[in-house]
């Protein structure tokens, strides 16, 4: 059970429990016209579904802080659409549905350490390290050769994720990727 909060605690970044689900305040504005009452205008994002909505609160409104917990996990394997992780300190295994893994699945490789977010004890998602390294498993050799600056081509990474990279990248290369933007950063190892 999260702590009880009042309207004056509201601010950007605060996590609340509303109708049994965790929400993040992504935008916040305090308004108080003239002699009128204070309005606390929030843009809320559901931390499970990602849907957003705006809601205005007033002084006197009460809130529950979302009961959230983060634990370090190691990715083990994928089976069907279930992703299996292991707690790095308790060795307890936890599985997460593909929908909850979200876009992070593009960067998950065996033994990668991630932070798993729990809401009221149940896992709801993971956050990746900012940078990961992934191997190129497929690159179309036909597009090679044109070295005009800025030109890119698509390659497929070991996770199945397809990404635009510079033309000099070849099959077997290991690339550094920014998981926040999903983009190529640099080549860290060549296939040769």
């Amino acid at each position: 059970m999260g702590a009880t909060l009042t309207a004056s605690d509201l601010r950007k970044g605060l996590k609340l429990e509303i109708d049994g689900e965790p929400y993040l305040i992504v935008d916040f504005e305090f308004s108080k016209p003239g002699k009128g009452q204070a309005l606390y205008r929030c843009r809320l994002r559901n931390m499970i579904t990602g849907t957003q909505f705006d809601r205005t609160y007033r002084s006197g409104d009460k809130f529950l802080a979302a009961d959230l917990d983060e634990q370090e996990m190691e990715f083990l394997y994928k089976e069907g659409n279930r992703y299996h992780f292991m707690n790095t300190s308790t060795y307890e295994q936890v599985e997460l549905a593909e929908a909850s893994v979200g876009d992070a699945k593009n960067f998950l490789t065996e033994n990668l350490h991630v932070d798993m977010l729990f809401f009221k004890g149940a896992p709801i998602g993971i956050s990746l390290p900012n940078f990961v390294e992934l191997k190129v498993i497929k690159s179309d050799p036909g597009v090679k050769g044109d070295t005009a600056s800025g030109a890119t081509k698509p390659v497929t990474l070991e996770t199945g994720y397809e990404i635009q990279v510079p033309l000099f990248i070849e099959e077997g290369d290991v690339l550094k990727l920014d998981t926040r933007t999903g983009t190529y950063v640099e080549r860290v190892k060549t296939s040769a």
């Binding site: 016209p33 002699k35 009128g36 204070a38 205008r41």
Partner: protein
């Protein structure tokens, strides 16, 4: 940025702030106003339903100097002004600090129309004094202090922009929400705008008058670029009526579990000696924001409220 650099980067705005304050003082002194100082700590802040005072031992920090200023008015001080810090609990946002600076001025034998004329003259004089006359940039907008300034009544603007008449069926929650979301953001472009004649429920210390088929409070707000700058009114001088409104306000505060302020007996007694008068409070920090192209009060105060010395 290091802390030293954050402060150093504010230098131009803080220098402008100093000049704006100086320009205000010049304006009032040249017109025969007397600058006064009244207690910052008071045993009885003005009973306002939605303004919470900060406690200071057995007293409160002022939320506005208005009760003391009106005591002076009642004693015959006919043109007075004050620039002072005021304190309001729980107010923190881009345009709100729990400690901020108010300019208040009062005129004996005048009504809210005289204050509107003062607003025009004051803003033009201050803009000229700090090199912002007649136009200046604020964000993506080019603002102007030149006439014409728009005049709206609350009723007209609610009918046009919110689609209902707050004098027909007053609803406090809806009033505030529509004001903040549908009306304020578009008010005061490029020149400042007045919004006048409030529902009586929205003005605890303003005089009432009949206007057509409804009773309106002679209160007005001054907006510029969507920012509420000042709130003025023809002062209520009827002691019984004022006592009733204070009582109602304190009752509501008790019901809502808020601090119930002590009864301002001396102020109420002084109303017996008060003739017609009008007074206004202007948010100095917000005017500095406008004149220095700042989007938050944090940018125009040397230290933010959460800052340690």
């Amino acid at each position: 940025m290091s802390r030293r650099n954050v402060l150093a980067a504010k230098r131009w705005r803080l220098e402008m702030r100093s000049r704006i304050l100086h320009g205000m003082r010049l304006f009032f002194v040249e017109r025969g106003f007397v600058e006064v100082q009244t207690p910052v700590r008071t045993p009885a802040p003005a009973p306002e339903r939605h303004i919470d005072a900060v406690r200071s031992e057995d007293r409160y920090l002022q939320t506005s100097p208005e009760l003391y200023m009106k005591r002076l008015l009642a004693a015959g001080y006919d043109k007075i002004f004050q620039i002072c810090p005021v304190f309001r609990r729980g107010e923190r946002g881009r345009r709100h600090h729990p400690e901020f600076t108010l300019l208040e001025w009062y005129r004996l034998g005048a009504d809210s129309e005289a204050l509107k004329a003062d607003c025009r003259d004051l803003l033009q004089a201050v803009c000229a004094y700090v090199g912002r006359f007649p136009r200046f940039s604020y964000g993506a907008h080019l603002l102007s202090v030149l006439p014409p300034w728009e005049h709206w009544t609350v009723r007209d603007i609610f009918l046009e922009r919110a689609g209902w008449d707050p004098f027909q069926s007053y609803d406090a929650d809806r009033f505030t929400e529509d004001l903040v979301e549908k009306i304020e953001p578009a008010l005061g472009f490029p020149a400042p705008a007045f919004l006048s004649d409030y529902p009586p429920e929205e003005a605890a210390l303003a005089r009432l008058r009949r206007h057509g088929d409804v009773t309106v409070a002679e209160r007005f707000e001054l907006y510029w670029a969507g920012i509420e700058l000042a709130n003025g009114f023809s002062e209520l001088t009827d002691r019984r009526e004022q006592e009733n409104r204070f009582q109602e306000c304190l009752d509501r505060r008790r019901e809502e579990g808020r601090d119930v302020y002590p009864w301002p007996q001396r102020f109420l007694e002084s109303l017996d000696d008060l003739e017609a008068a009008a007074g206004i409070a202007l948010g100095v920090d917000r005017l500095v924001m406008l004149l220095t192209d700042a989007s938050s009060m944090d940018e125009v105060t040397a230290f933010e409220p959460e800052h340690e010395p």
